[in-house]
Symmetry: C2
Subunit: 244 residues, 2 copies
Amino acid sequence: MSSSPASNPPAAPVRTKRVGRQLTPDQIVEASLRIAARGSADAFTIRRLGDELGSDPTAIYRHFRDKDELMLTVADRMHGEVLDNVPDGLDWRDRLRALAAAAHAAAVKYPIVASSTASRTTRRVNEFRIVELILGALAEAGLDGADAALYYRVVGDSMLAYTGQYAAYLLVEPGVRASDEASWSGEYRLADTARFPHITRLGDELPAITHEAIYEARFEALIIAIEHLAAERRAAAGDAGTAS
Amino acid sequence: MSSSPASNPPAAPVRTKRVGRQLTPDQIVEASLRIAARGSADAFTIRRLGDELGSDPTAIYRHFRDKDELMLTVADRMHGEVLDNVPDGLDWRDRLRALAAAAHAAAVKYPIVASSTASRTTRRVNEFRIVELILGALAEAGLDGADAALYYRVVGDSMLAYTGQYAAYLLVEPGVRASDEASWSGEYRLADTARFPHITRLGDELPAITHEAIYEARFEALIIAIEHLAAERRAAAGDAGTAS
DNA sequence: ACCTGAACACCGTTCAAGT
DNA sequence: ACCTGAACACCGTTCAAGT
């Protein structure tokens, strides 16, 4: 952005020589997201981040304590994108499904971020918003108190685990991933029939399962479990009502 | 093992000078498991493995293509320990529960192994045995064909994701882990009441949830989903039987 | 107040040289 | 046939020096 020298806020010392070299935390986070979006093509390193910013790599340490703190801040921005993609006005089931779909999309877009924060708590604002969203869905489903707290952790941790696992898979070397991918139609198809009768019997079905189907079934299992517990609690409350 | 020079298999050139310095793949795997069992206290590096073996670190490359291949072999040994801890004679539910408990224990014992293979396929014998075990349980539950194949992946991948997530958590620096751990009784307790009413309402319940309870509830959700699908299939088969 | 760049203490892996 | 050790191409991070 070039502007005429005297048209800026009064008394602000303008040093055009430095324009573009002054870093802000936002610039660092945005450069991080750009690198992260390159996936396995580009390793996420402090040196690469320096390149991306056109500055010395160690300048980043003037704005973030270490790489871990940077990554948690980057993760919070990713969580913001996730929330932007969850529409309003859905019932609790579709709200959780939309959240799961958005989290999955974000993990595919920024695999290094999803992978390296899957076991962590960011304790930042968008994580609070996601917790609140899940707790709201669980309340609507009919869970409260310790049930709601436990199932928040079940849903939240599972979403992190599933997306983190897939993100890490997207980051393994293409050659290695290809041979992992081929195992169901390769090694497993050649399994000894006598020793592994079930594997043999499902030789056609196992290679046909897609990641999308697995992710959906895993998440639907959580929804079924929530419905199951809510029904149990309703039944218990109904009995109590009848008994009193 | 020292022995008198001439008492060994005939014509085998015995070089006592080299005893203890000749590496075998098994020795390398066992040294790897010892290092892995030290958890976050000791980083799992090729150099440390060399120390543990009393040899030059690069000698390992005479027996394993790279660190990845070594880690997959080590993971297979871990899977063997998991299987050793699954008793015979259980029904499908308790067999899956025992597998989940054994996998969890192994992840706690060897966190770096569970963490670094959570997105991978070892394609080795003990993985085959675990797949066979899960498929057997699903068959007993009443799932077959594409259902069994899908739910194998749901159960297997989920077990890897859950144990890998927790293992990675055990490996984060103790100071960082402590502050993550304290978040529910710290930052989350201070959340703005107006903006985060659900979080505020569950301020007492959220910090009380234990990792064990979460792991159990996640796994029970899978069992419920299996029962649910099996019941659906039985109902459909019953209807078809009635209709024909 | 912020950026730079040399430097430190690490990594996994390769390769020529030993035995 | 296997092991050694120097070396390469990396890491995250610190710190004295610049502006």
